[in-house]
């Protein structure tokens, strides 16, 4: 398998290099998407299938489609921006030094890791955490604050997009490309099935809120871009949309406060109740992630006065 690993590493370097060095924005975006797919394969090789799924769905799929849509809305004069290539020979020495420095720091960090890691500690805490799978227990209980901050960052991104401009409704495609809306509608039950499966699987196997939300988000973006979801643009549903977007974060905070009230420490959930809290948080977080990924594709604030 060494050959496969080497090929993957080479492919990652090659796509990253092409993304940065080749002229033309379209080529850069295409290479970035290929890079995301290669990274997903590398995560599979590192035996982290949940990270691989999130990387494939978010890194390659949703980000790539977002960049492609943005590219489509640029005026033609700005699409052929050339990368600054002239200064490359001059910059090659500082770049090399920087890369070597970062590699050295990472290497030192790896050497400094406690042997054999924290697996034992997590395993002893697992019965008290309310989840049966170590990754889920880590993400939602033991290191819940990390997940909380991640969701906050995503909510900030939505707020930033909404503050830029009004939402742009999707173009009417069904006249020119009748196949696409039909495919999006036919596939959506399958997206829903996979979403429920990952959510259910999260307590005892790789899966959980982030991969599930990313998957349903991808299906939702497909529906949104083909104009099959009208309610998100309507003023009447704006308040509901805002509450749903914040649901994951709010439930997380409520849990933290409840832990504070019940046991005296933030997030100090009693083991008896932790399982129920984790399920509630996981469902709410997954739904919020789905909707947040979809609202990126509104390209602005929905629900304007008509």
């Amino acid at each position: 398998m060494l050959v496969v690993d080497l090929l993957l590493a080479l492919a990652a370097l090659a796509t990253a290099g092409q993304c940065l060095l080749l002229p033309g924005l379209f080529r850069a975006v295409a290479n970035l998407m290929a890079f995301g797919l290669v990274m997903a394969l590398i995560w599979v090789r590192l035996e982290a299938p949940d990270v691989a799924l999130a990387e494939a769905a978010i890194g390659a799929g949703i980000t790539g489609a977002l960049l492609l849509t943005a590219l489509g809305q640029l005026p033609a004069s700005q699409r052929d921006i050339q990368p600054a290539r002239d200064g490359l020979p001059r910059r090659i020495i500082p770049i090399t030094i920087l890369v070597l420095l970062i590699t050295g720091m990472l290497w030192a960090a790896i050497l400094g890791l406690p042997k054999p890691g924290l697996v034992e500690e997590v395993a002893t805490l697992l019965p008290e955490s309310g989840a049966e799978h170590a990754v889920t227990a880590l993400l939602l209980n033991l290191r819940g604050i990390d997940t909380l901050l991640e969701i906050t960052v995503m909510l900030c991104a939505v707020a930033t997009i909404w503050s830029l401009q009004q939402a742009i409704p999707p173009p009417t495609l069904s006249h020119y490309y009748p196949g696409l809306p039909t495919l999006a509608r036919w596939l959506h039950p399958l997206f829903l099935l996979m979403f429920s499966y990952f959510l259910w699987q999260g307590t005892h196997a790789p899966g959980g809120a982030f991969p599930a939300g990313a998957l349903l988000g991808a299906g939702g973006v497909l529906l949104l871009l083909t104009g099959s979801i009208a309610w998100m643009y309507q003023r009447a549903y704006n308040l509901l949309l805002r509450w749903l977007l914040a649901a994951g974060l709010l439930l997380f905070l409520i849990t933290a406060l409840a832990g504070l009230l019940m046991t005296g420490t933030l997030y100090g959930l009693p083991p008896r109740l932790a399982g129920y809290f984790i399920i509630a948080i996981e469902v709410a977080t997954a739904l919020s992630i789905t909707l947040m990924l979809m609202t990126f594709y509104l390209f602005g604030r929905p629900g304007a006065q008509q």
Partner: protein, 106 residues
């Protein structure tokens, strides 16, 4: 026996991948390249999925592999149609070999 059958199907599928990669690199315009690419998804991937499904440990796994093939068929045919119709609307018209064709260069 099943191992051999599966390996046979996979070996049959590989030439389709090679041929359509060559086609993707050598064909002159977007329509013919699409034509080359769809052969991989239909026949090449179909044969490889069949080979893997024959070797699968259970019927459920085999059905999942066939489902993957079916989904890729749906997605790739829709994608190919989208790219082709988008190219027809905005891009260059298809190349034609005989310039006497009355429809040429429409």
């Amino acid at each position: 026996m099943r191992e051999l059958l599966g390996a046979g199907f996979i070996l049959l599928g590989i030439p389709f991948f090679i041929a359509s990669t060559v086609g993707l690199l050598r064909f002159p315009d977007v329509y013919t390249r699409l034509h080359a690419l769809t052969k991989v998804d239909n026949v090449g991937l179909g044969l490889i999925c069949l080979g893997l499904a024959v070797q699968a440990s259970s019927i459920a796994v085999a059905l999942k592999i066939v489902l993957i093939w079916g989904l890729i068929l749906l997605a790739s045919s829709t994608g190919a149609t989208l790219i082709a119709s988008s190219a027809l609307r905005h891009g260059p018209p298809p190349l034609r070999s005989d310039s006497d064709d009355s429809h040429a260069g429409r």
